[in-house]
Structures are given as structure tokens and as C-alpha cells.
Symmetry: C2
Subunit: 198 residues, 2 copies
Amino acid sequence: MAQTMAHHHVREGDAILTQGEPSRYLHIVISGSYRLVRVMDDGRRQVTGFVFPGDYVGTGAARTSSHTAEALEPSLVCKFSHSFLDEMSERFPGIKDRLIARGDTELTKAQDHIVLLGKQTAEEKVISFLNSLAARGNGVPGEGARLYLPMSRQDIADYLGLRLETLSRALTTLKKNGAITSISGRMVELAEHPALVE
Amino acid sequence: MAQTMAHHHVREGDAILTQGEPSRYLHIVISGSYRLVRVMDDGRRQVTGFVFPGDYVGTGAARTSSHTAEALEPSLVCKFSHSFLDEMSERFPGIKDRLIARGDTELTKAQDHIVLLGKQTAEEKVISFLNSLAARGNGVPGEGARLYLPMSRQDIADYLGLRLETLSRALTTLKKNGAITSISGRMVELAEHPALVE
DNA sequence: CGCCTAGTTGAACAATATCAAAAATAGTGG
DNA sequence: CCACTATTTTTGATATTGTTCAACTAGGCG
């Protein structure tokens, strides 16, 4: 069972999952973050999700992956080979249930994303996105609603189905109307009382 | 084990899964179709998916459901109680793997939907939607690309993140430029050579 | 036939995309 | 630390697209 499970450092920009290729491992993210990207035939790209510590990346078994997962920052992952997982599930039947539950979480996240994309205005999408990050606990410890965005504006725009100019404008609009207290690069501070915004 | 698994008729409009309530059964759709709807706090609705024969509906265990599944037409489902599923999985360990695979399919469908919603123009979204229906085999048997839409225009619009007027206009535009051969109510005939459309 | 709902069309308006340029930020080497 | 470059982000002006509100049309059913 040696070498079937190991910690691994991943550099910024490196992919732990590549679109069109089967995934040899299941990766559990320990630290850092990733973007999930699908590039379409015409070259356009859609960011289908972001991955944070505790989430996992990898297709089941030897299926070919429909996404690429790229590190947004230096990251640490735990790799599990499929053979190791098979052995584990034989010896500890309960583990598979947890994987099912995990898959449910992935599905739930995807469904939330669908709802987000269904919203009409750019500002709604941006606020929903920021709130989901805050709810997931990406905030800076010790503060209320200060959060760091590990991804670029382009990534966020591709995630929200907007052009990056539209995203940028939405951010400044939200700052002007008070929903966002401050923006400086990738640090964003949300207002305390989101109810004020309508 | 009696009464833990049964076929059931579902009338049009009836829900086999209700947002906010736990699901007592796992339903496998035998015939008919469903829409998955999430109603948000402000009253707006997002159709997050459609369910066709072979698909299944129901949350794992006793978790509360984030969607409502409503029959688009008279339908037949197979109901499995959770206790029955637990017993099955003890006696036939392989069955849980299939459920995992199923969950993957659900996730894949959600991800495809995300990509669809990321597309820019209304016409692109509509053609992608129609193609996905055709690919799923909703076509009328014996014909090439004739398909029946069991859902209303409003359902499609809510699925695509469009207003129904925009959807309607996109459909007529697509008919004018030849991507759609004919539209009559809920019957739509796609052109043979989608490559012609750009 | 008349009513009711679903679907389409029209015109004015609001939002987003596009193209272009300026400003801010991050690196790099002196 | 500063200057220089490359990249990212923001802003501006305009064209395109989608929304809104309203009227109109087409079917389904008593």
C-alpha cells in the first residue's frame, strides 16, 4: 500500500486534472485553491467552479475528465490512487458512503451555481458570488466580511457568465451603493448589513 | 420487504419531491418527464433541470430537498424506500457503486447546464438546449431530428435564464435562419446539418 | 361560439458586450 | 529603492442584445 497515498505540492498554474484525460488519482485539497475550467470547441472557456480546502478533485475510476483543475496559488493536496480507494472500500465499507455524500456536495454546489447563473443582473450575480465565498469561510480570520479572492477577475467573469469589463463595472457599482465597503485588488470587504442593498 | 418498492402513477403537475421537505423515497422515472424547480426567496424561479425516463429523483437519506420535481405529463415512477435501499446495499454491495455512478451523471448534467448558461446569446442557449434534448433521445422514433418538448416555453426560459419573450424570439430567429426547420407548438424539427448555422 | 391560457410579435427602454484606452498593480533588474 | 516592463484592472464611448410592458394571435375546451 506504499506510494498509493501521498501529499503533494502543486505550483500555481499547474493542473491536477486535465480536460479530456482520465484522472489517475483522487485529490483532496489540503491548502490553496483551484479553478475548474472547461474549454469549448470554439475556444471560449467556462469556469464551472472553484475548489477549496476540504473539497476533492478527480473523476470516478478511469473516466475521462470534462474539466481542467488549475491551482490558483501554491497548494497542497493529498493524492489517493484508485487502487488504494478500492482496497479501502473493501476493508472499511463506510468510506464509500462518505464519498457518496461528497458527490452530493459537489452536485449541490453545481446546482447553486446554476441558480446563480439564472439571476438577471450582473450586480446580483457578483453579490451572490461574494456571499457564497464569505459563507464558505474564505474570509480573513478575525474579521467579519473581509475576504481574499484567490482568482482573477477573468476567472470570476467566466464563472458568472459575464465579460470581465461588466464584472469590473458591477464591482465599482456595488462599492458606490454601499454593498461593498472597499476593494483593493483581490481583497474585498462586504458591508455588514446586506439587507440595505436591494 | 413488501410495500417498500412499488410502481406509482403520477399525474401532470404533481410533485414527487418538494423543496424544503425531506424525500422519503428514491424515485426512478419509468415514463413521462419532470422539471426540477427551485423557488428563491424573492419569488423568482429557476428551473435547474429536466428529468426523463431512466433518471432518478430524490435526496440521499433524510436530507431536506432543495428542489421541487413536478411532472410535466402523466408519468410512471418506481419508488424505493430508504430502508429498502439500505437492505439492498447490504445484500448486494455492487448496487451502491451504481448509485455513485448515477450521482456522477447528475453532476455531469448539472455541469453541462452550467456551460450552457455561460453561453452569451439567447440563440446559442436555445440551440444547445434543443441539441441536448435530441442527443438524449427525446426525438420522435423513426425520425431524425424531430422532437417533442414536454415542457412549456416558460419552463425552457427559466431553464436557460431568459425571459419567455426572448426565448420565443430566439426560436423564430432560428427558424428564419434555418437552424430549425419547423415549429408547431411543442413539436420542433431541427435542421439536418447544424454546421450550416454560425 | 366565447372564454381562457399559451405563445408570438411590437416598440421603447435598460443592460450587457464590444472596442479602445487609461490607470493601477506586480515583477524584474539595475 | 527606483525605474522599466508586462500584466491586470478599471474606465469610456458605442453597438448590440435582452428586458419590459403591451397588444395581438393561436389553440383547447366548456
